[in-house]
Amino acid sequence: MLHKADTSATWAVVGALGLFFIGGLLTTVVPPLVDTTWAKPFENSDPAKGPTGKLLPYTGLEKQGHAIYVREGCWYCHTQQTRTLLADTKRSGWRGVDSPVSTPDEFVFDAPHMFGTKRTGPDLSRVGGKYDEQWHRTHFRNPRDLVQGSIMPPYPWLVDNPQEFKAIVAYLQRLGRAKNWRPDGDFEK
């Protein structure tokens, strides 16, 4: 086959696509069929099995917040995944409680997904409930007013638009909350 491909464009293309499709299909189409947790929303009522809770679809307001998060490119600086690394569970944790590791069933309704690749800012997979609305207002207006040395851009136009501000905060406050990971539900509003 390889020899034929030397002089026949058809053979070269058939060979190149054939080899490509083996890996292509096995790594894209097959995995979601094998691992069903990718598509099943998180639900657990047995505390022995870890944090309880249920993943709900996005509300209209949260969806709008997600769209703003996409539009403003927050995801180029923030990830949304607590990886299976001790440091991640500590850093995404809060007030002495470690964050549970992120699992595929927590992200079933995310489209586009916001896992991210780069942590210029902290991971946001469990940011929901860590700060109250007033904190977010001040932070969006000028991050450096709250966190000296921050390089997060200011977003005055989000604060000045009450509807958009409500939406982005609703979205952020939901992140990571399907798993009820706080011992006594001490979330900020």
């Binding site: 002089t7 293309v13 490509f20 890996g23 292509g24 790594t27 990886r83 992200f107 896992f115």
Partner: protein, 467 residues
């Protein structure tokens, strides 16, 4: 016997056939517009690098905020500059390797026109915040469709040219370009269309398959096609081994596509899929080392030419960067290494070495080599070309090395969770400052390159035919 073929190819293609005159208008249009975008998007690159140092810069204009400019930088460099330059050079070298004219210059010019419309559309929509939210697939749907149409037009033109070729045996660059065309079609459809019907981890998996293979099965094969063509040409030496180039091609076709999930090592994606992606990432060393060995062996006894052959300087530095970046890649996918470098500033250092250091260097070299031959003029200035090399090289090295060191440091700090996150931000500030100034050097390189290209294309001073 195989080696004779490769030798015959190089000789055959370097003998000017007096009867065959290449028009090259498509190649010219693609190259000139790609170089223009290289310059324009270079400004965007500088601005976002500056925002890391001065975060309030242009802070109140939504269209100029970091989150809008970054996708413009990435898409503009990938599709406006690099892919357009790669396409332009493919329009140049495929007819020459086939010993015939391009099948249709009209179709080619229409493709160039459509491509320019796509890039302008991308600028407008990305600044307006119309972003699909998937990396490398940010462009809105109508533009995605236009890309597919343009790609089909490109593919038809190249395949029809190949179908009419005079030499039955195909040189390795021809396969790589054919591979690029067919693989890209499926990779692009997966990343830009299939993703829209999925969500969550499933979508992320398709997204990474696309992101990884946008580099691995688009920029790598077309970049290698350029290197396989221009290294023997620029050094006037036959390719070392045809057989070895086949090993590289077929292993690339098989191995690359399995590795997408290595973008989510330790993340919320099935462990067995992570392990598969790691195994195949390590196997990537086969296609890489076979190509690099071939290039080095071709240069045996010819290294002295590097002293004053600018295209060859870019090409061989590109080969070294390719070797390094493709050593980093497999290493990052190992779980232990990944736990330190993933999500840090190391990664942009790595990505820029691939896309700028390796593949853009190949495209710049090809442009310097092909442009005078297409226009039948001498290059505007060899000295300026040499300057562009050193500016790119110093800027590039400054950029890569500081981000690796900074990223490594950042990764170690993150793994000690007693250090508050903001302290790890402040620690990187000197790194980002050096990165900005390295960017200034690279941008100066872009200016030197773009000016040289445009002055050659538009200038009337020297009409003496070169080769």
């Amino acid at each position: 016997m195989q080696d004779q073929i490769s030798r015959a190819e190089v000789v055959a293609t370097s003998t000017p056939t007096s009867t065959l005159v290449h028009e090259d208008s498509t190649a010219k249009w693609f190259l000139v517009s790609s170089v223009t975008y290289f310059f324009i998007v270079g400004i965007v690159a500088l601005v976002i690098a500056a925002k890391f140092v001065w975060p309030d810069l242009m802070g109140t204009v939504p269209a100029l905020s970091y989150g809008r400019l970054r996708p413009l930088h990435v898409n503009g460099m990938l599709f406006g500059w690099l892919l357009a330059a790669d396409m332009g050079l493919s329009y140049y070298l495929v007819p020459r390797l086939c010993g015939v004219k391009l099948w249709s210059e009209k179709l080619g010019l229409a493709t160039a026109g459509l491509w320019n419309l796509i890039i302008l559309g991308a600028v407008v929509s990305l600044l307006a915040g119309q972003n699909q939210g998937l990396e490398y697939a940010e462009l809105p749907m109508p533009l995605d469709v236009a890309v597919v149409v343009a790609w089909i037009m490109f593919g038809i033109n190249i395949f029809m040219t190949i179908a009419q070729r005079k030499y039955p045996a195909m040189y390795v660059s021809t396969w790589y370009i054919m591979g690029t065309i067919v693989w890209t079609a499926f990779v692009y459809l997966t990343g830009n269309f299939a993703t829209l019907f999925t969500s969550g981890v499933n979508q992320a998996n398709l997204n990474w398959m696309y992101v990884h293979n946008a580099v691995g099965l688009i920029f790598t094969p077309v970049g290698l096609a350029l290197a396989y063509y221009f290294i023997p040409k620029a050094s006037n030496s036959p390719l070392y081994s045809h057989k070895l180039s086949m090993v590289g091609f077929w292993s690339l076709a098989f191995v690359y596509v399995w590795t997408g999930a290595h973008h989510m090592i330790h993340g919320p994606i099935s462990q067995w899929l992570q392990t598969i992606s790691i195994a195949f990432s390590v196997m990537l060393l086969i296609p890489v080392w076979s190509a690099v060995y071939n290039f080095f062996a071709t240069m045996r006894g010819q290294w002295q030419q590097l002293r004053d052959n600018v295209p060859l300087k870019f090409l061989m530095s590109g080969v070294v960067f390719y070797l390094l970046t493709c050593f980093q890649g497999p290493m990052h996918s190992l779980r232990s290494v990944n736990a330190i470098v993933s999500k840090t500033d190391w990664i942009p250092g790595h990505a820029h070495m691939a896309v700028l250091g390796a593949f853009s260097f190949f495209a710049v070299a090809g442009t310097y080599y092909a442009l005078p031959r297409m226009f039948g003029k001498k290059l505007f200035s060899d000295a300026l070309a040499n300057w562009s090399y050193w500016l790119f090289m110093m800027g590039g090295l400054g950029f890569f090395v500081t981000l690796w060191l900074g990223g490594l440091w950042q990764g170690w700090q993150w793994n000690d969770w007693t250090i508050p996150f903001i302290d790890t931000v402040i620690a990187l500030k000197p790194v980002w400052l050096v990165r900005f100034f390295s960017g200034v050097l690279m941008f100066a390189g872009i200016i030197a390159f773009a000016y040289n290209v445009l002055a050659t294309a538009l200038g009337t001073s020297s009409t003496e035919a070169a080769a």
